[in-house]
Symmetry: C2
Subunit: 351 residues, 2 copies
Amino acid sequence: MKLNIALLAGDGIGPEVIDQAVKVSNAIAKKYNHEINWKPALTGAAAIDAVGEPYPDETHAICEAADAVLFGAIGHPKYDNDPSAKVRPEQGLLKMRQKLGLFANVRPTFTFPSLIDKSPLKRERIEGTDLVILRELTGGIYFGKRGREDNGDTAYDTCTYTREEVKRLAKKGFELAMTRSKKLCCVDKANVLETSRLWRETVQAMEKDYPEVTVSYEFVDAVAMRLVQWPSSYDVMITENLFGDILTDEASVISGSMGLMPSASIGNKTKLYEPIHGSYPQAAGKDIANPLATVLSAAMMFEDFNLKEEAQAIRDAVNKSLAEGIVSEDLAEGGKAYKTSEIGDWLVKNI
Amino acid sequence: MKLNIALLAGDGIGPEVIDQAVKVSNAIAKKYNHEINWKPALTGAAAIDAVGEPYPDETHAICEAADAVLFGAIGHPKYDNDPSAKVRPEQGLLKMRQKLGLFANVRPTFTFPSLIDKSPLKRERIEGTDLVILRELTGGIYFGKRGREDNGDTAYDTCTYTREEVKRLAKKGFELAMTRSKKLCCVDKANVLETSRLWRETVQAMEKDYPEVTVSYEFVDAVAMRLVQWPSSYDVMITENLFGDILTDEASVISGSMGLMPSASIGNKTKLYEPIHGSYPQAAGKDIANPLATVLSAAMMFEDFNLKEEAQAIRDAVNKSLAEGIVSEDLAEGGKAYKTSEIGDWLVKNI
Ligand SMILES: CC(C)[C@H](C(=O)O)[C@@H](O)C(=O)O
Ligand SMILES: CC(C)[C@H](C(=O)O)[C@@H](O)C(=O)O
C-alpha cells in the first residue's frame, strides 16, 4: 500500500513522541512492503511562532490531501493564564477539527495486565475494563455563538445540536457496539438540557434499526460517578462534545496508563490519530516522555487502513516492551527508565 | 434557640432518611434546650401527584418563612426515560433553587478513617482527602434560554453568566479558603468558553483582596482527571453550575462514603441542607437506606446557626455508630445491616 500521511508534531513533547511513531511505522512499512510518504506540517504554538496562525491554510491543504493525519500534541504554557490572548494554540485544534470535519473522537480505555497496579483504582475495580467513548467533536458549545454583552459584564456561550449531527455520531456508536458487546450507553443531561433531549429522542428513534443493541441512557453526573466506581460496566458510550471532553479525560486516568492511550478522530473523509495526553511542556526536549500512546495511535491508523496484521505487530511489540520493562520514567517505578528515543529504537528492533 | 425548619422529604428514600434527621435534631434540641418547629411541605414527584406541581407556591412560602430548609431527595423513575414529560420532579428542584436564590452549593468530600477501604481508590490515593466544592447553583446553562428551531430538528441551550454572579460565588470561595488551607482552585474551560473567560478574569481581579489565598486555575477536563488521581491535592474549589454538577458527583464517590456526604445550598437569606445522594427509588419504603448523609446535613445546619457544640454532638454520634458497626446495608459488608430507623434510634440514644 502507498500511504500519504500528514505529520503534525505540534508542541511540547509532540515532536519527540511523533518521531518514535514515525520510526515504528517505517519499520512496519519496510517489513510489510508498504510505502509511507510523510508530509510534515506546522500546527499549535509552533505554527503561531512561525506564521502567526495555529492551523495555517497550508497545513490544512496537506491534511486534506493526505490519507490520514498523525498528530502529536498542542499547547504551550505561555498561553495558559492569558484568557485574553488573541491567537491561541487550542484555536488551531478546534479549527482543524471543524475544517477537516472530524466529527467523531474515538477514545478507547483499556487496561494492560502488566500495568494494572498503576491505576489509582483498586485492582478489582479496574480489572476487565475495556470501553470506548465516542465523543462528538465538531458541534455543541465548542462551536456555538459566544460573546459578551453589558460592556463585557455578561458572557454567553451557546450549545447547539441538529438531529443530523446526533444521528451521524450515534450511527458510529451503534456500529461499533455491533462489533463489540452490543451495549451502548448514551450520556446526556436530558433532565435539564434541550440539546440533551434532542440527543435522547434521536438515539431512541434509531434503536429499531439496531434491534440487537441494548441502549441505556444515563445522566452525565451519574456517569462521572460510575466511571470511577465500576468502569468495567461500560462498553461503548456516545456523548456530546463537552461531556465527552470531561468524561474521556476522567476515563483515561482510571486505567493508570494514560501515557498509553491512543485515539482517533474520524470525519467523512479524513481520519486523524493522536495520543490522548497533552503537550506536557515540562518534559519537552528532555527525551523522557512516554511515546507509546502515539505509537499505539499509529497502530489504530494501520487498523483503519485494514492492515490488521501490521497493527497487531505494533501492539505485540508494545506489549513485549512493557513485559520486558523497556519503559519510560512514568512507568519505571525505581527500575531503569528508558529514553523516549530508546523505546522507539527498541520497538523498531522488535518488529 | 427557636428554629423554624421547613421539612421537604421529597421522593423515594427521602421520607425515611429525613425521619432520622428529624429524630436526631429533636434529640439535640432537647439536650441543648432549643425548640424546633418542623414545617413539612410537598416537593418532587410527591407534589406532582398531590397538586400537579413539583414545587408548589405553598411550599415556597413555607421555605421562605423558615430559618432553614431540610431536604431529602427528589426524582421518580416514571419520569426518567420520558424526556418529553411536561412536568418533571427536577423542575421543582431548579425552581426551588432559583426562587430561594440558593446560589452556592457547598459540597464537602472527606474520608472517614473507618470507611477508607470502601473507596474505589487505593488507600494511599484517598487518604487525607478533605475538599469542598462550591458549585454555582442558580446560573449558567441550567437557567439560560433554550428551545428548538427547524421544526424541532435543532435544539439549543444558552449558558450565561454575569460578573456579579461570579463574584458572589467566588467571594464565598475566598472566604472559605481563608478558614482552611488558603488554597483556592477555580475550575473552568477558559480555553474554549467565553463564560469561563469571564469567570477567570473576575476571580483574577479578586485575588488582590485576598492576598493570603493562593489561587490556581484549572481546566475542567484536567480536574476530572486529577480528582481521581490525587484528590487530596485539592482544598476549596469553585466552579460554575454544570461543571459543578459533574465534579461534585465524581468527587462524592472517591471517598467511598457517598451515603455519608452532606451538602448545603446557600442564598442571601435561606439555606437548605440535603444529602448528596438521590432518591434511590429501588430502596424506597424498605427501611434500608443509609440515613447518615441526611443526619450530617442536619449537623451542617446546626453549625451554620453557630450551634457548634450541637453540630459536633451529631458528628460524634455518627462516628461512634460507624466505629461500633451500627451501619446500613451499604456499609455492612457481610456483617449485620441495621435498618434506617434503627440507626436513627441508636443515634438518638447516643446523644
Ligand atoms: C485543548 C482543548 C480545546 C481540547 C478540547 O477541549 O477539546 C482538549 O481538552 C481535548 O480534549 O482535545
Ligand atoms: C436532578 C438534577 C436536575 C440536579 C442537577 O443537575 O442540578 C442533580 O443532579 C443535582 O446535582 O442536584
